[in-house]
Amino acid sequence: MCVWKNIIVTSCLLITGVVVQAEESSANSENKHQKHMVDMADGLNSQQFMNAKDPDALWSSTMFVPWKRTGAINAYQDNKPSETKGGVNAYQDTDKVPADNTPSKEENLAMPAASSSSGEITGMVDGKKIESDQLVNIRVMYGLDPEHTKAKFTPASSQNELFRQMSKYCSFGFQKVGEWSEVVEGSDYYLYYQFQCIEKREP
C-alpha cells in the first residue's frame, strides 16, 4: 500500500482529535436527517438502541399508553409546546405547580382564531399549523375537594371544557385517543385529553 494513502487516512483520523466541538448541522432540514431506530440497531451502543423511541416505528407497545406515545404535541398556552421525547411527555416544569405554589385557575389553550372548512386542525401551535394526523395533548386542572382547590373545574366540568377545546380545534370532528390524570398538588389534578381531528366524510 502506498505510503501517501496511509498518510491521508491517518490524517483524517487525527482530525477527530482536533475537531471536538464541531458545529451542528443547519436546522432547516434536521427532522429528515434524524437517526432512525433501524440505523441504531447495528451500532456499538446497544443500550442506546434498546432505549430509543421512534415515533415513526411501525408498531410499538408504547402506542397503548397515551402519555408514552411519541410525536404528540402538548398544546398548552402558558408554556412553549414541545413534542414528546423518549416516551415521556416533555412537560416543562412551569407547566406544573409554579415555585410559589400558585397555579393558575384555568389552563388557557391557544385557541384557533377561526374555523375553516379544510377538515384539518385549525389550531396553531408554536406558530405552525397542526397537521391533520397530528396527536395533540390538551389539559385542564380540576379539584376533587371544593374547599381546598386552586382549580376552576370539577372533574365533570373539566371534561366539558376539554370537549369545548377539541371542538374549537377541529372543523369536522375529533377522536379522543387518550385520557389520563396527573396529580398537581393535594387533591388538584390535571386532566389530559389526547385527540386527533377527523377528516370530512364524503356523503
Binding site: N6, Q21, S25, D42, S46, S61
Partner: protein, 403 residues
C-alpha cells in the same frame, strides 16, 4: 380510520384481552430496493452486463424490554432480512422468506451495562457502524474488499454504559467444536479442532470515544474471528453540513502455519473477504460455498491492509457523498494441501480499490431516493490462474423506506 389510529385500536384490544400492560416492544425496519445496471468485466471470464432489481439488506426487526427493577431490564432483539426483489434468501441455501440477522436476548443495567447472547455482528463490525456511506449496496459496501465484516453465531457480548464519552464492548464467540461446519467455513474456527472448544478462543472487542454524537473515534480488534486477527481504527467527524469518515485496518491470518490445517476443501484456511455479499473478487478455481452468493467469494487471504475514507455534504434535503477505499491482500503460498496451486509456486498479491459516488434526496424523514455509481478494480500479481483481474462497475437508483 387513519393509519396512526389503527395500531392504537389494535393495542386497545390486546390490552383489554390480556388484562395487563405488555412488555415494551417495538417493530422497526426498512425496505431498500435499487434498479441498476451492472458491468462486471473479469479477465478470462464472460463479461456480465445486465440490469437488476436488488433488495439491499431490507429487514424487519422486533426489539423489546421487560423491566426487572429500576436498574435492570431483560432485553431482546430479533431482526430478519427479507428479500424484496425475489423473496429468495441466500443465507442458508434455501428459499426462506426471512434470513436471520442479529438476534439476541440479554440483560441491560443502567449501572453495569448490557450483557447479551445470540447471533450478532462482531463488536469490530459494530464499531464501524454508520461509517460506510454505501453500506449494503452492490459494489458499495466495504465488505466487498475488506475482511472483518462478520456476523457470528454463538456470540456473548458485553457493552458498557457510556462513561465520560467512552463505551467499551467485548465478546466471546463460541466455536462449539461439535457444531463446526468445516466444509462450509461458516464458523469462526475453521478447521482447527484443537482450538474451537474453549469459552474464550475467539473474541472481538472495541473501545469508542464520543466527543459528541457526530464526532467519535473507535479502536476495535478481532482475535481469531473467521480465521483473522484484525486491528481497526475508525473515526467520524462532522463539521457543519459536512461529514467525514475514515477507516484503516490491518488483518493477519490467525493460523500462521497453513500446513497445520491440512486443508482439502479448496477454500484454504485464510480470512474471507466476503460472507455473502461480495461481488468483485473470486478465485476462479474455487466454488463459492453454499450461501455466499453468486461467484463472489474470496478465501485464502493471509494478510490484508485496508483503508477507506468518505465524505458527505448535506444540502437541505439533498446529500452528496463520495467514498474511496483500498485493500491490499497477500495469499497463502499455494501448495497441494490448500489447492491454491497456481503453477507458480509462490504466494500472490492483489490490490482492490473502490470508488463510489452518490446523491440522496430525502422525500421525508422516512423515505429517501438515492442514486449511486460504484467501481471496484481488482489487480493481482503472480496469480493469473487464481484471481480474476477485473473492473466491476454498477450504477443505480433506489428507494429506501424506514419504519
Amino acid at each position: 380510520m387513519k393509519l396512526k389510529l389503527l395500531p392504537l385500536a389494535i393495542g386497545a384490544v390486546v390490552v383489554a384481552q390480556s388484562g395487563s400492560v405488555l412488555a415494551d416492544a417495538t417493530v422497526y425496519g426498512k425496505l431498500n430496493i435499487s434498479f441498476q445496471n451492472n458491468n462486471f468485466d473479469y479477465v478470462g471470464r464472460p463479461q456480465q452486463d445486465n440490469w437488476t432489481l436488488n433488495s439491499n439488506s431490507s429487514r424487519l426487526g422486533v426489539k423489546g424490554k421487560s423491566k426487572i427493577n429500576d436498574d435492570m431490564d431483560a432485553v431482546f432483539k430479533m431482526e430478519y432480512e427479507t428479500y424484496v426483489d425475489n423473496g429468495f434468501s441466500s443465507c442458508n441455501n434455501s428459499n426462506n422468506t426471512f434470513c436471520q440477522r442479529n438476534i439476541y436476548a440479554g440483560l441491560s443495567s443502567k449501572t453495569y451495562g448490557m450483557l447479551y447472547g445470540g447471533k450478532n455482528d462482531t463488536v469490530l463490525k459494530m464499531a464501524a457502524d454508520g461509517t460506510d456511506m454505501f453500506n449494503d449496496l452492490v459494489l458499495g459496501d466495504i465488505t466487498n474488499y475488506m475482511v472483518g465484516e462478520n456476523r457470528e453465531n454463538n456470540s456473548i457480548i458485553y457493552t458498557s454504559p457510556v462513561m465520560a464519552g467512552f463505551t467499551f464492548s467485548t465478546s466471546t464467540i463460541l466455536g462449539e467444536q461439535s457444531g463446526v461446519n468445516n466444509a462450509g467455513n461458516q464458523e469462526p474456527f475453521h478447521d482447527s479442532i484443537q482450538q474451537n472448544s474453549g469459552p474464550f478462543d475467539s473474541s472481538s472487542s472495541a473501545i469508542k470515544y464520543e466527543f459528541n454524537e457526530k464526532n467519535w473515534v473507535a479502536l476495535a480488534g478481532d482475535w481469531n474471528v473467521e480465521n483473522a486477527d484484525i486491528i481497526r481504527l475508525v473515526s467520524q467527524v462532522s463539521v457543519g453540513d459536512f461529514t467525514f469518515d475514515a477507516h484503516i485496518q490491518s488483518a493477519n491470518n490467525h493460523f500462521r502455519d497453513q500446513n497445520a490445517n491440512n486443508l482439502d476443501n479448496g477454500l484454504g484456511d485464510g480470512m474471507i473477504i466476503s460472507n455473502g455479499r461480495g461481488y468483485g473478487l473470486a478465485l476462479n478455481n474455487t466454488v463459492p460455498p453454499a450461501g455466499t452468493g453468486s461467484g463472489a467469494y474470496y478465501a485464502g487471504i493471509q494478510d490484508q491492509d485496508a483503508w477507506m475514507v468518505n465524505g458527505k455534504y448535506q444540502m437541505g434535503d439533498w446529500a452528496f457523498k463520495a467514498q474511496v477505499g483500498e485493500s491490499y491482500s497477500t495469499s497463502f503460498k499455494p501448495n497441494t494441501a490448500n489447492n491454491f496451486n497456481n503453477g507458480v509456486g509462490s504466494s500472490y498479491e492483489f490490490d482492490t480499490t473502490q470508488v463510489a459516488i452518490g446523491a440522496d434526496y430525502a422525500l421525508s424523514k422516512n423515505v429517501t431516493l438515492f442514486s449511486y455509481l460504484a467501481q471496484l478494480d481488482v489487480d493481482s500479481d503472480n496469480a493469473a490462474a487464481l484471481v480474476d483481474d477485473g473492473t466491476l462497475q454498477t450504477g443505480g437508483v433506489g428507494l429506501e423506506i424506514k419504519f
